[in-house]
Symmetry: C2
Subunit: 427 residues, 2 copies
């Protein structure tokens, strides 16, 4: 098939008619499918069911030195769990705090503390300043955007490039505007684009001059070990880079096992410079006597150590990678060469992000919905829910069965072709 | 023995000499004991070990309607867990949100949200106001005081009476000062005094006029079901009372299973008027995708329902009550009739709070420490760590073994007698 843009009006009309017939046929099958949810399916969760099946015996609840983990105490995490994350991510244990079941909550609470107390280097609590702004790489993670919006920041879009955020733009903005207090980054297998920040991007983020002296990078490394196979991306150590420029306090690092063990019942962690962590601990030790240590012990009993996590992730990554590959193959098969879709093939993570021709995403969403397949709401990957070009669609292929995924993707390519022809030829 | 105040100087000197000899003898035994920690001992925790021993099977992870609890979703709590707390506390399920492992964290986050967003009825976020104050019933719970202090409130003391906070004083203060935004209450078996608010106190709290239209009561009912036996105290339903006066939004209600199942690995909950809860949920759903549902399922599998919790609490209450009784018996035996100690005998809860003669508590603490027994820091039960009369001591008899408890209490009565004689006769 030749590129749609090069079709004659007549050819376009004929093609559209055929596609519409195909679409009507699919619609009559009354599908009820869902490509919208970035969550694992039950078969993936079964892979760690043993973590739940195994008893947590009394003996397991005591530390080597006799501390009873069933009791109060050790508010910043069981030492062995700190070591596990330390080995997994290459971060010194002294920089790590183990949290509860949600790294998103750690992110949120970190920003709330900044509002009420300020961060290290702030002149005053952020809540005492007016007109604060936050940089959002787009397309990006909707829950990040909602946190900053809810807390009261004005959200400023920065384009995602294959190498990460458009650093020319980031540098320009943060150097000139002291109201910009930070940026959200999912640096490896970014949600939803699936790309990993280049070494140069990491260095520039670590090094850049910021007008706000208390600027912060929320480094949400949610997919740190989520490679599909042994050829995964590598990510530069931002703490090491930031240290070179005296900017170690700039980094607030987060991750969790939500997409390793169980979403909502895993272990979260945050890592910070010693100075940042001392400040955070001062406040968190007022907030809580401690996080759930017994769930940390359960995870340790199952995974043992970082190597155990990696062994599990080789299996899980293969499983997720297979789903992503199914989706990619259908996109390539049906849309290859038509010039109506752009996307990057991720080497890990959880999502596939595709860009239609400008002005087509909402139409695709509507056509899919009409035929019984739910996609992620168009705009969800942008601040305020608005995709200015109306072209990005986030596909979450992990939840449906392979069979349902194929059905959904088959329909998706039909709807993308329909929407593209309608747009190109004003049909 | 006659009251110490009625001794002649000579008698006092003789008594003191004998006590000092006794004290020196005890000291030579090099004790290393701890009465400071308000936490259960391992034997108490063993009572719910089965909750941890039992596997959480795949089957148990699915709701009747097929929802997989191992996955994201249901952010405000598993319905059966809401029902358990509802039945246990007599609060409608619609007013309940199930949290994570820490009700203290729910309290903290609630106040942080008030700072950044305000509460229902606020003109502006609390962080935008200056000079805010918070009422603290003294003696009270140190961790409450630290939360308010850390967030930036000026702490205002109100005396604890046998009936609860001194309501004349509370009413006077809140009616006249719009800067007073709230009060901490542990209404049943208050920490550390062990008394329960009278019906009249609850009604007056629900009814009183407050100068701040967004005044809040943090109703931390941590010991709601922690009776020593069937003759426990009863607490009036503050929501029902508040509703009569249109003040239902005034109440933020919290509790947890920290002292039912496991400290730091239990289930917390908060309850609020529908209007308050809708506001809280709006923000909490941005903070987290959800709390740990699997730990809720574990607790449900073990306790089944409210009746199951009550059955467990009859055993646990007996266990804690026995410890408290040991301490009380030694106080009565050694100090009865001397006129140097005041205390109330609680019918439940976790602590024993005793008042020495004014100006003696620190001396008792020092004598005990010198002889190897750690008490709760004097002043910890007061804002800013200052007991203005230097007389309150919080005893936490749950952690030591019975034998160690007896040794500690034997020494404690000796040191109280020494400190009292020194003070009364300037010796």
């Amino acid at each position: 098939m030749k590129p749609y843009a090069s079709l004659s009006p007549k050819e376009a009309e004929k093609e559209l008619a055929a596609l519409r017939a195909l679409y009507e046929k699919e619609k009559s099958m009354h599908l009820s499918l869902d490509l919208s949810r970035g969550k694992p399916n039950s078969e993936q969760l079964d892979m760690t069911q043993e973590l739940l099946d195994a008893p947590l015996t009394r003996e397991m609840c005591f530390s080597p030195s006799g501390f009873d983990y069933r009791n109060y105490g050790i508010f910043d995490g069981v030492p062995e769990m700190k070591k596990l994350f330390s080995d997994l991510l290459g971060i010194p244990e002294e920089m790590i705090l183990i949290g509860g079941n949600s790294s998103l909550q750690l992110v949120y609470d970190t920003l709330m503390r900044a509002m009420v107390f300020g961060v290290v280097g702030s002149d005053r609590p952020w809540a005492k300043e007016e007109g604060l702004k936050w940089l959002c790489v787009v397309p990006g993670y909707d829950r990040h955007f909602r946190i900053a919006q809810s807390i009261g920041f004005e959200l400023v879009n920065v384009r995602m490039l294959p190498t990460g955020p458009d650093m020319d733009e980031v540098e320009r903005l943060v150097a000139s505007d002291p109201k910009i207090k930070g940026i959200f980054c999912v640096p490896k297998y970014s949600n939803p684009t699936g790309n990993t920040y280049s070494d140069e991007t990491v260095v520039r983020l670590a090094k850049m001059k910021t007008a706000a002296k208390d600027f912060r990078i929320i480094w949400d490394n949610a997919y740190a070990v989520h490679d599909f196979d042994e050829n995964g991306d590598t990510l530069l150590d931002i703490f090491a880079e930031a240290e070179k420029y005296g900017n170690q306090n700039r980094i607030f690092y987060f991750t969790s096992t939500s997409k390793i063990s169980f979403p909502g019942a895993g272990i979260s962690m945050m890592a910070m410079s010693p100075e940042n962590l001392a400040q955070a601990k001062k406040y968190i030790s007022v907030e809580t006597i401690g996080f759930d240590k017994l769930n940390q012990i359960r995870h340790l009993a199952y995974f043992k150590n970082a190597a155990g996590v990696m062994a599990h992730m080789r299996l899980l990554g293969k499983n997720v990678g297979k789903k992503i590959a199914i989706a990619e193959q259908i996109l390539d098969r049906d849309l290859g060469g038509l010039g109506i879709l752009e996307y990057q093939k991720p080497k890990g993570g959880y999502f596939l992000s595709i860009d239609t021709l400008p002005g087509c995403a909402k139409r695709v969403f509507a056509l899919m919905a009409e035929a019984g397949v739910k996609l992620t709401q168009v705009g969800d990957t942008f601040p305020y829910g608005v995709d200015p070009e109306d072209r990005n669609l986030r596909l979450a292929p992990t939840y449906p069965s392979d069979e349902d995924l194929v059905k959904s993707m088959d329909l998706l390519t039909v709807t993308i072709r329909i929407a593209s022809l309608e747009k190109l030829f004003a049909l």
